[in-house]
């Protein structure tokens, strides 16, 4: 019991410290003047929101709450919190954040619900800013090139537009663009050509509005073949710019 209290105390302290450092809502955070001992005190009000209210597993969301007339505010699962505040949360499953605000005028509660889309099995450890690989590859498709060319084709252009839309919606996402070539041709030249392919894809994404600082390029030439058969359909699969999350 004592340990639990200490835990609550420490977490409260850290939230307070966070708020102080963040400098948010200092006025509201200030202790209210001692209320007159009267039964006519107003009923507390409480609001809580989570943004966005749907995320993928591994993503984070921002929880924001605001109360008035309360001197004891707690959120289920988080313990006692400041009367108003914001906090990053990273739930691994769909969660209801239940806030209870108690004051002299009684108590009020509010709830915010976040839906977490299940993570596919066997994802890597994801840090806060990352999208899992399956989601990433669903939304960001590879770009394929013609034989011995690094020009973006018509098909490639529409792929780039879709890729760019996703990347712009996730501006914190860092992406590696790998340039690949088919098995024919010479090793050194293919590495340079692969670099041109990766750069062409990068430039097309930047032209479509993606921040260049999200993107970096690596050429793999023909050193890491995706498809190892010796025919045109396989070669076509290898002539590509492949996008992956930069971890």
């Amino acid at each position: 019991m004592q340990r639990l209290n200490r835990k609550i105390f420490v977490s409260t302290l850290s939230v307070v410290a966070l708020l102080t450092v963040a400098g948010c809502h200092k006025k509201q955070a200030a202790p209210p003047p001692p209320p007159p001992p009267t039964v006519t005190a107003p009923t507390p009000t409480a609001e809580i929101t989570v943004t966005p209210n749907t995320i993928n597993a591994g993503d984070s969301a921002v929880l924001t709450w605001k109360t008035t007339g309360a001197n004891d505010v707690s959120i289920e699962g988080m313990g006692q919190v400041a009367t108003s505040g914001t906090q990053n949360v990273k739930p691994t499953e769909s969660t209801s954040y239940h806030l209870v605000a108690r004051g002299d005028g009684g108590s009020t509660d509010a709830t915010a619900r976040i839906t977490v889309n299940a993570a596919p099995p066997a994802t890597n450890n994801l840090n806060e800013n990352n999208v899992d690989d399956a989601t990433f590859h669903q939304n960001v498709k590879d770009v394929f090139y013609d034989y011995d060319s690094y020009d973006i084709t018509g098909d490639g252009q529409s792929t780039i537009q879709q890729d760019a839309a996703f990347l712009k919606a996730h501006p914190q996402l860092k992406v590696v663009i790998g340039g690949y070539c088919d098995e024919r041709g010479s090793t050194e030249y293919n590495l340079a050509l692969g670099e041109n392919r990766a750069n062409a894809a990068k430039q097309a994404l930047v032209n479509a509005g993606v921040d260049a600082s999200q993107l970096r390029t690596v050429s793999y030439g023909k050193e890491k073949q995706f498809c190892t058969e010796h025919n045109e359909s396989c070669w076509q699969q290898n002539r590509r710019a492949q996008f992956s999350v930069d971890r």
């Binding site: 011995d148 041709g185 090793t187 340079a192 390029t217």
Partner: protein, 458 residues
């Protein structure tokens, strides 16, 4: 002594006069067709046309130490192969040579060697002994047609009694003979070949003797390392390596046996090349957002961009004779072609007229480029990738490999008489050598996972 000198001078002047005659002949035949192409390559690559008929006797064992026989076998085989590989001798085959082991000048009867069927003009012979863990070799080279004063060379070598020492002694004595009979050009028996070992995904840099013996891995980086280039003084090895941030040029000190600093620019940086004075490097970097050719000093400082054209620019190589020109590969017009320019980027000149041309290597005398060329490259085209040599002044070229796998990354030996290259077939890649006229092709490796050879400068 003066007689010995006169003998070797006679040999030299004989070779030179042959070469001069061939040059005149070619001049008069210029433009009359490709059937003479092999001759101009031979002449330009110091191979000559008339080869000296040379016999290498089995060396005489002079001790009973149990190591004598195995070391003698190593020595005899290495010595014969070195002379045979040299490209300037018509070797008397072992079955044609007299079954004799003259161990000293007193024991040789030259008429037995100069007579049919061996018909030798020159004879190399000697003695090999092992005692107290040391191997001692006495070697002589005699002119079989000069009964009065036949000796051209007499040498003695001593080293620890190991197979490596026996091979090294054979290399050194062979190189003495090659230098003496080959117009003063140093032999290559003591040179090394640096190359990439390993398969897709994990490639390290390795080195072996010029004949494929004594292979060992140099780097242990656990990534993909490519394009090894040894410095002209054999002290530093530059190569390209894939790290977490992409490709950079890295430097290994052969003297210190470890990696040393090289200031590789950011971005994909590939294909280093040493100038022949060891003072500069050229390489490809996409620092600017597009792969271009740069030069720098040997530590990567004073970088200077010398090409500015959209598209891949890669695989530079200096003219080792002057260091004032660079040949490289550019995809600025589509498929890669071979170009040359001044080392400051001026006077760009395209050398190949189509197909898919890569991997230039500049001959030591500055006259030729060897490169890989698929003249009918394209989807569905049945072109083969072969090694070609082009005379830079005339743009005349000759094809050296035919109908055998995919050939790439030629690299000249320092004597200009040999080319090592990579041959891929059925998914296996091995190193091969040949004379610079395309003859005497032989595999140096048989493991199926060796590529990108680079012949040392000495």
């Amino acid at each position: 002594m003066s007689k010995v000198l006169r003998t070797s001078r006679q040999v030299k002047s004989k070779l030179f006069s042959i070469r001069f005659f061939i040059a005149l002949l070619l001049f008069s035949l210029a433009g009359s067709g490709i059937s003479h192409a092999q001759d101009w390559v031979k002449t330009g690559t110091n191979l000559g046309v008339q080869r000296i008929r040379l016999a290498a006797a089995s060396f005489k064992p002079t001790t009973t130490d149990p190591q004598t026989d195995p070391l003698k076998t190593v020595f005899d085989n290495t010595f014969y192969n070195d002379l045979s590989n040299a490209g300037i001798f018509d070797m008397v085959s072992k079955s044609m040579a007299p079954p004799l082991m003259p161990g000293s000048p007193q024991e040789i009867n030259l008429s037995q060697w100069s007579a049919a069927p061996s018909n030798a003009e020159m004879v190399a012979f000697g003695a090999l002994g092992v005692s107290s863990g040391r191997i001692t070799v006495f070697g002589w080279l005699f002119d079989a047609k000069n009964a009065q004063s036949p000796q051209i060379l007499g040498k003695q070598y001593t080293d620890n009694a190991t197979a490596d020492s026996a091979r090294m002694i054979a290399h050194r004595f062979a190189d003495e003979i090659i230098s003496r009979l080959g117009g003063g050009i140093n032999g290559i028996a003591e040179t090394k070949i640096y190359y990439v070992s390993g398969r897709v995904g994990n490639k390290e840099i390795s080195v072996m003797d010029y004949d494929g013996q004594g292979a060992r891995e140099i780097t242990h980086l656990g990534t993909i390392s490519l394009s090894p280039r040894i410095s002209p003084d054999n002290s530093r090895l530059a190569f390209a390596s894939l790290g977490r941030r992409g490709w950079s040029i890295r430097m290994y000190s052969m003297d210190l046996g470890r990696m040393v600093a090289f200031n590789s620019p950011g971005g994909t940086t590939l294909s280093p090349a040493w100038s022949s004075d060891g003072a500069k490097l050229a390489f490809s970097s996409d620092k600017s957002g597009d792969p271009e050719i740069y030069t720098s000093d040997a530590s990567g400082g004073n970088m200077r961009r010398i090409t500015a054209f959209r598209g891949p620019d890669v695989s530079p190589v200096w003219n080792p004779k002057t260091n004032s020109q660079i040949a490289w590969v550019s995809g600025r017009t589509g498929l890669p072609q071979i170009y040359i320019m001044d080392s400051d980027g001026a006077n760009v000149q395209r050398l190949t007229d189509g197909g898919y041309a890569t991997s230039p290597s500049w001959s030591p005398n500055g006259q030729f480029l060897a490169f890989a060329w698929d003249r009918k490259y394209g989807p569905g085209a049945p072109g083969g990738q072969d090694i070609y040599v082009m005379d830079i002044a005339s743009h005349r070229w000759v094809q050296l490999t035919h109908d055998a796998g995919r050939n790439d990354f030629p690299s000249w030996s320092p004597d200009g008489r040999h080319i090592v290259f990579q041959r891929e077939s059925n998914g296996h890649s091995d190193l091969w050598t040949m004379l610079a006229d395309g003859t005497q092709q032989q595999a140096l490796t048989h493991n199926g996972s060796s590529s990108m050879p680079n012949w040392s400068w000495k």
